[in-house]
């Protein structure tokens, strides 16, 4: 209904292969960015930042990373939490031991460390598939946090095993208030999301999807599984690692490596299942959705006058997650992203049904 596409023809391949080929979409995205960078800072409260928006950004980035591995390359991983941990611990150590290092450099290096670890734990994917691999990644999930706790060096032999983030500055910009942290995180996530989009629409993405859709055919047209899979693990872990670093730096502030446990892994997995496997947008939608549920559960029952114990809420939350996963897998395996896409198609051909 809102679309007026007639006359928006493409006279060059760059134009035809742009991320947003329709003018109306470009406007929409521009508005979205405006809202994110200007609108939210104007209206959001500190509670909103810390309770929803900042964790949303971090988890969305983690989900994005997992989506590259699972959604695009078809390799299931239950090790997301652990790789976030790697990123966080690496970033903390870098920031702590080399204070003069630029914050962005810290993040990138942390990401690279995570990528390296990811590749190591990705090796089994060359021999095994599907849930075998899922189990294998559990090894990472249980081994790495243990490693960080047991080997004191990682936490600088802190007796409590807690690592606390030093003050953050970026090119002289002090990042203290929630809003500043938000803007910093937003910047990082935006850039990485764009990078991810670029990856999946060019060679690497095609390589991954080929492996996902039919690995035999992929190999026969000359795609080397080892390259495809390990690159997916590397890139995915890179994103997840940075997500972990952000999670620690702009969200938690201080944490124990144990915190990066299997629950985070499952949370990320749920985000991409509900958001949409194989969709950048889906990672964000999913993250938002999953983070809203608990808030919803804590807020709504009182409103409708029934009070639940925190335990009860916790349990219901777990239940709801489980139910939602099954529901989405049955009703819309491609998640919210597909629903969004369908809605968009409807608008494009309005008033026609098809």
């Amino acid at each position: 209904m809102l679309y007026r596409e007639a006359g928006q023809f493409k006279t060059s391949y760059p134009a035809d292969q742009a991320i947003f080929t329709i003018k109306q979409d470009r406007w929409f995205f521009a508005l979205l960015m405006l809202a994110a960078f200007v609108g939210i800072p104007l209206v959001a409260t500190d509670y909103l930042y810390t309770a929803l928006i900042i964790p949303f950004l971090c988890m969305a980035l983690a989900a994005l990373g997992l989506n590259i591995l699972t959604g695009y390359c078809g390799q299931v991983s239950l090790g997301t939490g652990a790789f976030m941990g790697v990123g966080a611990v690496a970033a903390w150590n870098l920031a702590f031991r080399v204070p003069e290092l630029n914050l962005l450099v810290v993040l990138v290096l942390a990401g690279l460390v995570a990528a390296a670890v990811g590749v190591i734990f990705g090796l089994p994917s060359l021999r095994i598939k599907g849930f075998y691999l899922a189990v294998a990644t559990l090894a990472a999930q249980f081994f790495l946090p243990w490693l960080f706790t047991k080997v004191g060096w990682f936490t600088n032999h802190n007796s409590s095993g807690v690592i606390t983030v030093p003050r953050m500055t970026l090119f002289g910009w002090e990042i203290n208030t929630p809003m500043e942290k938000y803007l910093f995180a937003l910047g990082v996530v935006t850039i990485l999301a764009l990078a991810a989009k670029n990856l999946v629409r060019s060679n690497p993405g095609r390589r991954w999807m080929a492996i996902r859709d039919m690995d035999i055919a992929a190999e026969i047209i000359g795609i080397r599984p080892i390259v495809a899979k390990l690159s997916a693990f590397a890139v995915s872990s890179f994103f997840i690692g940075i997500a972990g670093a952000l999670y620690l730096f702009v969200y938690l502030g201080s944490a124990e490596p144990d915190g990066f446990n299997i629950n985070l892994s499952f949370q990320a997995l749920f985000m991409i299942i509900i958001g949409g496997l194989g969709s950048i947008l889906g990672s964000f939608l999913g993250a938002f959705f999953i983070l809203l549920v608990p808030i919803f559960l804590t807020r709504v029952p009182p409103l409708i006058g029934l009070d639940m114990s925190t335990a009860a809420i916790a349990h219901t939350e777990v239940m709801v997650f489980g139910a939602l996963i099954v529901f989405f897998l049955i009703v819309e395996p491609h998640g919210l992203a597909r629903l969004w896409q369908i809605a968009k198609e409807k608008l494009r051909i309005w008033p026609f049904p098809y």
Binding site: Y13, R207, M209, D213, M214, I216
Partner: protein, 263 residues
Amino acid sequence: MTATAKKLGDVMLRVENISLSFGGVKALTDISFDIREHEILAIIGPNGAGKSSMLNCINGFYHPQQGSITFRGQTRSRMKPHEAASQGIARTFQNIALFKGMSTLDNIMSGRMLKMHSGIIASAFYKGPAEREQIAHRAFCEKIIDFLEIEAIRKIPVGRLPYGLQKRVELGRALAAEPTLLLLDEPMAGMNLEEKQDMCRFILDVNDEFGTTICLIEHDMGVVMDISDRVVVLDYGRKIGDGPPDEVKHNQEVIDAYLGVQH
């Protein structure tokens, strides 16, 4: 004008005494034949004669226990499919093996993977070298799309396409690699007459315009006799015939095999 009009080059691929078995079950027994430059060679035979296994050996998906395959002078015993691909051997499958999640264009683009080199970093930035590469190869793939007359389905996910078109897209993906040897596993299986005619036309055009050597498996004898320069007949994993179509047609053993005479 038919493909037989052109002159054939010298041997491109030589198969020598290939034997292949899966846990005791013999799929191929002591097969030898060769494929010449620019020819269209058809491998025929009753079901379970080992035709697909033969192709799988040639492009390195199976590894024969005995025998050797010599492609363009280099002999190899074990090699991986992607290595075969990088040597210029492309193929299509009996039951379509397209990437269902991708559009027609992306499927064909993926066929050019071997020719595209921009890595993770470049691709992440996209603008610059990666984009230029994409454009260059897009242009090539568009020529294939035009050649196969599938403009109308360029951006449709292949999962939604009718069978006949999917076969065509798969051929497109194979062509995108600019192969020197093209293996087609039953390119016309399950097609109606019109689709078959188109497919024949495309196969001949490919062989003709690009001089691509083609080795195909086909059941439709009419088609085989029409388009192939030479026919190799397999039966129960053994080679029972090899020669020009009409010669093979009158080979007694072949006739028996097709009439199902007891062995």
